[in-house]
Amino acid sequence: MKATHTNARTHGGAITSPAALALLSALLLLAPLFAPRPAHAQGGVAPPARPPARTQARPAPTPAPPAGAQAPKPAVTNGAANAQKPARPERVPLAGRVVGEDGGPVAGVNVYAATRAQTTGPRSPNTVTSDEGGNFVFPALDPGLYTVGANLPGYINESDPQTGRVASTYRPGEQALVRLVKGGVVTGSVVDQQGQPLVALGVRAMRVRDLDGRAPQGGSPFSGEDRTDDRGVYRIYGLQPGVYVVYASGLQGGGFATPGAYGGDVPTFYPSGTRDTAAEVTVRAGQETAGIDIRYREEQGRRVTGTVELPAGSQPDFGLNVALTYAGTLMPAGGVGLGLGVNSPERSFSIEGVADGDYDIRAAGGGREGLSLTSAPQRVSVRGADVTGLRLTLTPLASVSGSVRIEPASEAERAGEPCKAVRTTGLPQETLVTASPDLPRVAAGATGRPVSRPLTPRETTPDETGDFSLRALEPARYRLSFQLFDESLYVRAVQLPGAAPNAASAAARDVFELRPGQQLSGVAVRLAEGAAGFGGRVATAEGASPQTPPPTRVHLVPQERERAEETLRYYEASVSPDGAFSFKNLAPGRYLLLARAEAESPEAPRRRAAFDADTRARLRREAEAANVTVELQPCQRTSDYALRFPQSK
């Protein structure tokens, strides 16, 4: 390719070097701009970065390491508590199998195992290739949680129907199963106003939501792209099931074959309009959605220009980018890279081909460790003229760090009957730590402050010493949450720096406000052995009114009034259609049980009722009125509890 005539810099916003492309792709916020080519479109390079929304039942540990695997090393023992643990070698194999839709083996595919730190940071995941039988083995992985998936062009990792999540999480020693299914296809043609085919024009598919109405994983709706051929035909394949919008655009189409032929044009969304009038296209795995024909509008767009200012003394290591998104969404509407090795105190940018409408614009900069600087998003209204003179001021992103420690069960707890058979094999690095923007629940229909760009949760897993760090957090109020992959552990307390180490009072300690550039450190997360498990079935009482909606959630509310503000002691679980519910990783203690029918909205992620003071208080009132109490002993496992509904007496 003639691309060798350009170098690693950017020309007019086109990223011309693969290396630069790869680096900039790491800038998570701007991933849509620099998304990989179709060959890798399907999560090819970056494994999905979305946490499991619930703890997954783990398959049984591999009985023996597969052939060729390194023999497990003896366990490291230090301290009395550890000495009681079963052998847990430092590095063990993670084996598995890749199968196709028919369950048959898929040979010769690239399989990755990535820890959370690898999916969000610069460390690359471990990769292996499946053998003739579809089997694979990562010979020796450090302890941790690994997302395991496979890359095969045109195919996608089957997603979990419950969560919409694509790849599953495993610990070394477990047996992974990766199922590849053919991705969906969108195909059609692009013609001009005279009906003539347009050649070498870029067409992109953006996933608006999944088939269950959930927002796309990882925030970016970019899914795939192609260029029209000499007949004007395009074909985008390997798509996740979901609802898409499709558009033709000169921005990407001005590749090397036809520089600038359609540059500066507004994107034309299928069938022949703007984002507002775009028709949605439903894509299903293994199916072809044909006839998505676009009549190109050939309309010159406006220009959005301005400057980006860096805070004194800071420098993005690798890149500085400006991204334009449709107002209030993550749907990219344009963007520009301002080059590598930026050292100017002020940079100017120009984004072309912008249609009339409302947008959010922001700048971001960063380096190998990911994003380090962003500007506050600004709303931009384009109305028949260029928008000039924007000033985007970058501010450093914040971080939060701390440690996860596992505390052994007390002698008394250990002496109890249920705990005799339970010994934890859990490790701190098997904890998924998530910092989620803590945005109060907005009542339906309420027009609150416009959120110009949805904040996305950030997550990580601690390292082998239990330390964790979450970087690139935008200034906001955050809540830490934890997912434990060992059923014998529960979260005993979260202490923010400066707070009294009072285990009994963990009220609201998991919520904090981050200012720009703040580096909050010393968050102590204490996990404890002896977690209880509790589950059963909601039994609709005889004589209940048929009009009564069936319960959808079961809540556990700490019975002691003095624990009323301890959000960590509130638990909730969904009720399956057959009435079953299940809790894990519970702190032992006395709880009030409450089953409720709650409205589900697929649009917004579920926010736990205990997070807000008003809903928490109402929960408590209702639970006290229902007055159904359970006492959970350390290590207790109950799976057959019958909860009457309605609970009113």
Partner: protein, 577 residues
């Protein structure tokens, strides 16, 4: 094509007798016609226009977009203007600022005649202030299409695999793959189907995969399977490939290729250690190079991975072949380089590779702008300049790793982690109109051509001198005794008068099809102008002319290229900037 109203009235540059009399002698004052005063700037910026017709045979081609891409500094590859052809194939691009452009119909499904081989594709066109260029016509021909399906050993479609279409000479010689085609156009889709279009008439071999003779293939992670290069219809020997012959506008279907099994790939692992202490080095960002049979690095891949806490690396997906592993320029490794660490993958995993990390040499200095007295303006310009350097070392496996260092507001810069060898330093001032690299100095000596850097040395006091200027030299080449061959290139060059041949970097621009050229952003002073025409394996040069320019002024020259003169063989690497 003709220019109806040329604003230039060029005089013949130099009498022919003089050229014959004194070969190589400079002819001062021969072509100094007139110089605009800075007050005439407005006139200098009068817009120009281009019109013409795009035809396929006798027929005009409707609906094609003709684009003007700027090749002026700071504007590279920007579409400056464009127009669609009407029903007769005619186009008119009005209101174009004067400057240097590449003009082409954006017609990927067509073969456009008479394009030069440079990038961006098109024909060079230097537009002068206020001129109306008429009849700038293009002849196009509907390209041929080759389409087919690629399947693997089990008959399943091979997806997202690049298809190579290489032209074959009548004598069987294979021409290099044509550039300019976007890889995506040549990739198989989810059905294994590919469709390559816009092909010139000719004979082609169609193949998929990678051959061993092309060097090793490392997939890195997330990459596709690796197949041995297989030619249509399913042979691995090039000699047995069935050649597909296409004529203009032909569509040849069912050029199906069946591949064998993917090549088995292997793992390479080892660790990075300090060359001094032998201790493992964690956190090194590393990448791989592929080596050809002669041991020369011919490509690189990977580069995003880092060694773990034990200094270990491990990468899967190597097809048999020769490789090298090295550190790539990461934040933490800018002060280090790695000794050559080659390995060969034959039929098993390669473990225990030891990569020795050394602290590299460092070079620091300052970038200075000459010709600009306004300090604030100079600082502003400096902020857009980037310094780059590459080391010419005996290590043919070495990566191109010198990370462009930041230039501080005061112009200082530093490059670290250099391996020993000859360091070539430069600065990219492309983004800034008026800036050009003049020379590189070390301790007062001119080292524009590079200088030796010893193992671990710390070199200070390097000066990279940039020129700032607002003067322009425009010219029209007079061709005597013939015209440039189709497909040949003409380059005009301006060199500071009196500068030693290797002491300063000349400014070079493309001469357009009409023989026009424009060199802007020159500092005031005396220049020596020359034109070289490369074509059909021959080089013709004009005699050098002298021209004097003043700030904000424009000087016009008319060099003469005489095709009757004895041609010189082109010098290697002598084309263009």
């Amino acid at each position: 094509m003709k220019s109806k109203r040329s604003p230039l009235r060029f005089r013949q540059g130099a009498p022919r007798g003089a050229r014959a009399a004194a070969a190589g002698a400079l002819l001062f004052a021969a072509a100094l016609l007139f110089a605009h005063a800075p007050a005439a700037l407005a006139q200098r910026d009068l817009p120009a226009s281009v019109s013409g017709r795009v035809t396929d045979g006798e027929r005009g081609v409707a609906g094609l977009t003709v684009t003007l891409l700027s090749t002026d500094p700071g504007q590279r590859f920007r579409t400056a203007a464009r127009a669609r052809t009407d029903g007769e194939g005619r186009f008119l691009i009005p209101n174009v600022p004067p400057g240097r452009y590449q003009i082409t119909p954006a017609a990927p499904a067509y073969v456009v005649q008479g394009l030069t081989d440079n990038y961006p594709p098109g024909r060079p066109l230097t537009l002068l202030a206020g001129e109306e260029v008429k009849d700038f016509d293009f002849r196009v021909e509907r390209g041929a299409v080759i389409t087919g399906r690629v399947t693997d050993g089990d008959g399943n479609p091979v997806i997202s695999e690049p298809v190579t279409v290489s032209q074959v000479e009548p004598n069987g010689q294979q021409l290099p793959t044509r550039g300019g085609l976007d890889l995506r156009d040549q990739m198989t889709d989810d059905r294994g189907v590919y469709r390559v279009y816009g092909l010139p008439p000719g004979r082609y071999r169609v193949s998929v995969g990678h051959g061993g003779e092309e060097g090793g293939v490392g997939m890195g992670f997330g990459r596709r399977r690796v197949f041995q290069r297989t030619y249509y219809p399913g042979v691995t020997e090039q000699a047995q490939a069935r050649v597909v012959e296409v004529k203009a506008g032909d569509e040849t279907e069912n050029v199906d290729i069946s591949l064998g099994r993917p090549l088995k790939t292997y793992r390479a692992s080892g660790r990075f250690v300090s060359a001094e202490t032998g201790e493992p080095v964690p956190g090194v960002t590393y990448g791989y190079g592929t080596l050809n049979a002669g041991g020369r690095r011919i490509g690189s891949f990977g580069g995003g991975q880092t060694t773990n806490a034990r200094g270990e690396f491990s990468t899967e997906g190597f097809a048999p072949g020769r490789y090298v592993i090295f550190n790539t320029a990461g934040v933490e490794s800018t002060e280090f380089y790695t000794e050559p660490a080659e390995f060969e993958v034959v039929d098993s995993d390669v473990a225990g590779i030891t990569v020795r990390v050394r602290r590299g040499a460092g070079v620091s200095g300052v970038v200075q702008i000459e010709g600009l007295s306004d300090r604030a303006a100079a600082a502003r310009l400096l902020s857009q300049v980037r310094v780059f350097g590459w080391v010419e070392s005996g290590d043919r496996t070495a990566p191109f790793t010198a990370r462009p260092p930041a230039v501080n507001p005061d112009g200082t810069f530093r490059l670290g982690g250099l391996r020993p060898g000859k360091l070539h330093l430069g600065a990219s001032a492309d983004a800034v109109k008026g800036l050009s690299v003049s020379r590189v100095e070390l301790a007062g000596a001119n080292v524009t051509g590079g200088f030796a850097v010893a193992e671990g040395a710390q070199v200070t006091g390097v000066r990279i001198v940039l020129n700032y200027g607002t003067a322009v030299i425009t010219g029209q080449v007079n061709y005597v005794g013939g015209a440039p061959q189709p497909g040949s290139r003409a380059i005009a060059q301006a060199r500071r008068a009196g500068a030693p041949a290797d002491g300063s970097i000349p400014r070079t621009v493309e001469v357009d099809a009409r023989g026009y050229f424009r060199i802007d952003g020159l500092a005031a002073g005396e220049y020596e102008i020359s034109v070289r025409v490369f074509g059909a394996g021959r080089l013709h040069r004009s005699e050098p002319l002298s021209a004097s320019v003043s700030d904000g002024g424009e000087t016009r020259v008319a060099p003469v290229v005489d095709f009757n003169a004895q041609p010189r063989p082109p010098q290697p690497g002598g084309v263009g900037p």
